[in-house]
């Protein structure tokens, strides 16, 4: 049975990855998950310099979902390379670094630095971030800016480049196409959908940052739809995520067009979700006499 999938130059041993920001730097869950079994580990988003993040509360539960406003807290690229990467190098799994910047220049610098490091196998650029050069509007909601920032990053890196799309747009397929045209090896989607919650007793927002990103099963139907639309629009692989809780969900994303999937919020609910999903996909393949997992991608019957 062939579980491998290809994302750019990367060959993953199976299509199941962790979603950035929900799996720390890998070590936090190493007590619960055999990291060697994962298709890839995607680490928490990194920036050139460390970030403090947002004031608490940073997470709040919503019906079948959660809002987070971590504020991209991270230890910075250099600390990551020094303190966290050696741990990850021990494992026989692909390490994908999620990163972001405040400006096109910062994105490019971060990508350049990360590409030069042994043990980093791929990059995922998070473009759902505010752009300080454009009045803090979000990079990934303007096709022109998306094209520019992805192009700038593509110029400085040869390793596999995944562009992580923002779902807070009118036309996700267009944004994916733009990323493809700018040189992305793959797109991943969806990032969280902007949401908010108010405590009616205090009249205050439930998150320190007022708004936050919605994730979890609540958003799955939206994510599946966006993966489906994107798959039809681009030739590069699509990595699907958003509310995947079990192998049925993962297969649903693959049928919609995902080559690989990422598990986010579900890690919090059950830390062995990724492993359960890998096993579940295998069983599904056996039951359905599928020998190559790649056959699932885009297998929806219309």
């Amino acid at each position: 049975m062939d579980l491998t999938v290809n994302i750019g130059k990367l060959k993953l041993k199976n299509p199941v990855m962790t979603a950035s920001g929900t799996f720390g730097y890998g070590e936090e869950y190493s007590e619960f998950v055999d990291l060697n079994k994962l298709g890839a580990i995607v680490v928490k988003g990194l920036s050139l310099l460390p970030r403090e993040g947002n004031p608490p509360p940073r997470v709040v539960e919503t019906p079948a979902g959660m809002l987070n406003a971590i504020g991209l807290q991270n230890i910075g690229i250099e600390n990551f390379i020094r303190e966290k990467l050696p741990f990850l190098r021990q494992f026989d799994t692909s390490v994908i670094v999620n990163f972001f910047g405040d400006s096109i220049d910062e994105y490019a610098k971060a990508a350049e630095r990360l590409s030069a490091v042994d043990g980093i196998h791929g990059l995922e650029m998070n473009i759902s971030c505010p752009n300080k050069e454009a009045n803090w509007s979000i990079f990934g909601t303007d096709p022109k800016v998306t094209f520019e920032v992805v192009s700038a990053v593509r110029k400085v890196t040869d390793i596999t480049l995944i562009v992580k799309l923002s779902p807070n747009v009118t036309d996700i397929a267009l944004m994916a196409k733009v990323a493809e045209d700018a040189g992305a090896d793959a797109v991943s989607l969806i990032n969280t959908i902007t949401g908010m919650a108010i405590d009616i007793k205090t009249k205050r927002p439930r998150l320190g940052n007022i708004t936050g990103g919605l994730s979890g099963p609540a958003i799955k139907p939206i994510a599946v739809r966006m993966v489906y639309e994107t798959f039809k629009a681009v030739k590069i692989p699509v990595i699907g995520m958003g509310g995947i809780m079990n192998s049925s969900d993962a297969i649903e994303f693959m049928l919609a067009g995902a080559t690989a999937v990422a598990v986010g919020t579900a890690n919090f609910v059950n830390p062995s979700t990724t492993i359960d999903i890998i096993n579940g996909i295998e069983s599904f393949m056996v039951e359905n006499s599928i020998t190559d997992v790649k056959e699932l991608t885009g297998g929806i019957k219309i």
Binding site: K44, V59, N270
Partner: protein, 263 residues
């Protein structure tokens, strides 16, 4: 020894109005929890509630894990519905427990409301050789009083906001009286030999911290924040400290009182 445990409910009964004792019998071998550590407990019935909820270990006895919980919202409402024989999933023990006091220090425990759940095992571990200040809004919300009375070898000082039991007022008032007046001479100890341990609502912890700072007493406080993962991965549960944001689930929940920046 896994920290991801399936367990059967052997008891889930009210101990008081709006408060239950949950007793779990884990399926697999697990680490022994320390006082102040906690577990993420999930009822896993549906996706609503979705996330596990953090609960301090109340007691470990004959291989069973006991939790004392207040029914507050969706998660604990659901937990209340669970019956003997039902299964729950839990992660733990997580975080850092209370540091054990040095020999020359007299531990003073300050529990507000359900905060008693995490301080009880500390009192037990210290063989009851602690002063315990225990406050609640009203008599009905004081839990495990008989057990506490049986356990403690020093005084149990109760206060309630409405005066329905013990002193009327907050635990802080009571603590103040204890530490400053002579009405409760702390036997052989001088104030600076006290070591405070506090668990309760945030305003109480802030008051305890200020108090400790003023008096020059060292103190440990158990902090609370909303949690998603409980294992340090999501950065969701941070509190502001003098060295930047720290994770309640990983660097805490027990922090040195002077570390926290109150905002």
């Amino acid at each position: 020894m896994s920290k991801y445990i399936r367990a059967k409910i052997t008891e889930n009964a009210p101990v008081n109005k709006g408060h239950n004792l949950l007793v779990l019998s884990p399926d697999n071998i697990q680490q022994h929890p320390l006082p102040g550590q906690f577990y993420m407990i999930g009822t896993d019935f549906s996706y609503d509630p979705l996330l596990k909820r953090p609960f301090s270990i109340f007691r470990e006895a004959s291989g069973e894990l006991q939790f004392l919980y207040r029914i507050k919202g969706k998660g604990t409402e659901r937990m209340k519905e669970m019956k003997k024989g039902d299964t729950v999933n839990l992660l733990g023990p997580l975080g850092n427990g209370y540091p054990i006091p040095g020999k020359n220090l007299t531990p003073v425990l300050i529990a507000g409301g359900i905060g008693i759940a995490s301080l009880f095992p500390l009192a037990e571990k210290l063989s009851g050789n602690v002063h315990l200040f225990y406050g609640a809004r009203t008599k009905n919300e004081l839990l495990m009083l008989n057990e506490l009375k049986g356990l403690l070898r020093k005084e149990l000082i109760i206060s309630t906001d409405d005066g329905s039991e013990g002193r009327k007022g907050t635990v802080i008032d009571a603590l103040n009286v204890f530490l400053t007046s002579n009405s409760h001479p702390p036997q052989a100890d001088s104030t600076s030999n006290f070591l405070l341990y506090a668990c309760g609502p945030s305003p109480m912890l802030e008051a305890v911290s200020k108090f400790a700072a003023e008096k020059g007493i060292k103190g440990y406080i158990s902090m609370e924040e909303n949690m998603a993962c409980g294992v340090g991965a999501c950065l969701g549960c941070t509190v502001k400290t003098k060295k930047g944001y720290k994770r309640v689930c990983k660097e805490g929940p027990v922090f040195s009182a002077e570390e926290i920046v109150w905002t």
